[in-house]
Symmetry: C5
């Protein structure tokens, strides 16, 4: 999974009906190894009630769909948790 | 999901029959973190009626197939929405 | 999906039986955004009758298997079409 | 699969219920080819009893879910083993 | 699929039971486009009887599991063939 920070929102009126009712958030991957290299922003469906600025845990790929009651949705990234804390050692 | 811009179209007469009737659009990933680094263009099947220049939301991987009535299609990227607006904070 | 050019072939006598009878082609991803950066070559099973030099459309991931009558094959990339033309705008 | 080193832990109280009871570890991919390039840290669910500093084997993608008794979990990376030793030749 | 060279082996005593009996090999992706850029080493389960130094064909993602009689295994990369020869044109 990816650690990220919610940077914004995306709105789309014309979209696949299966996406109706979902909130789409713009996420910046958090960088630990290469502070100077920031991974590109991506869009994740929110399933944890996240808000702008929150540090979140994002699940990608086919696993993302298992987070929904109806798993037949064209979603490849979902926010599955709001991060309380990350404790990382430095070597 | 990926935010992208539709840059063009691709035509292929000789192709897997399961792809018949689909429109294939060339998409440029939108860059927020590294303006100088542009992700490589890719091809997505259109399922939202997108046109050249549109900002679109693209779902990739196995999730892409869930956007079609018949999910047994060799498609790994699909345009699932036309983006109205993106609101991103800068830190 | 990826736009690529067929650069060569790969032969393997000792291989998973499920791969018997398939042609494996070496594909170079086509680059539009960063002409100086060429994506690494990869191998795709051919399901479109492609030849050396052809510009092709390649489907990757689990979607690749949907292109075969028997989808229980260890193939993660397949050539699903021969590209006639690509029309891309430049911004 | 990816060879990695466990660098830390991540806590999230508000999360998908399906993730309850799992330990989430922060993993640094081990680098052999490009010592100067460190892959970005990521988060993996622990299914091998790993601890900080351990060298681990991580399975990603849909395969990660097969490591759980209940495979309907939004997890895209799981620690499937504690590495005893890696023997690599240099060319 | 990826062309790679077997560089070594990995041993893990404490691991997911579903991985028992498998050989895990360390693979270096072969580079054609950017000789100076070597892709990072990764670990693949061997299903072709490969040895150190062999050039191999590796299938990744969910397709990897189709190479096993029991496909319910947490493996995301598998060596599916020993490469006899690769013939690549240069442009």
């Amino acid at each position: 999974m990816i650690m990220g920070q919610v940077m914004g929102s995306l709105w789309a009126t014309r979209k696949d009906n299966k996406l109706n009712g979902m909130a789409f958030l713009v996420v910046k991957p958090l960088s630990y190894a290469n502070e100077s290299v920031t991974g590109e922003y991506f869009v994740a469906a929110d399933n944890a009630g996240a808000g702008i600025g929150d540090t979140v845990l994002v699940t990608t790929g086919s696993a993302a769909r298992t987070s929904f009651a109806n798993s037949d949705v064209p979603v490849d990234a979902v926010i599955v948790g709001i991060v309380d804390s990350i404790e990382v050692t430095h070597d």
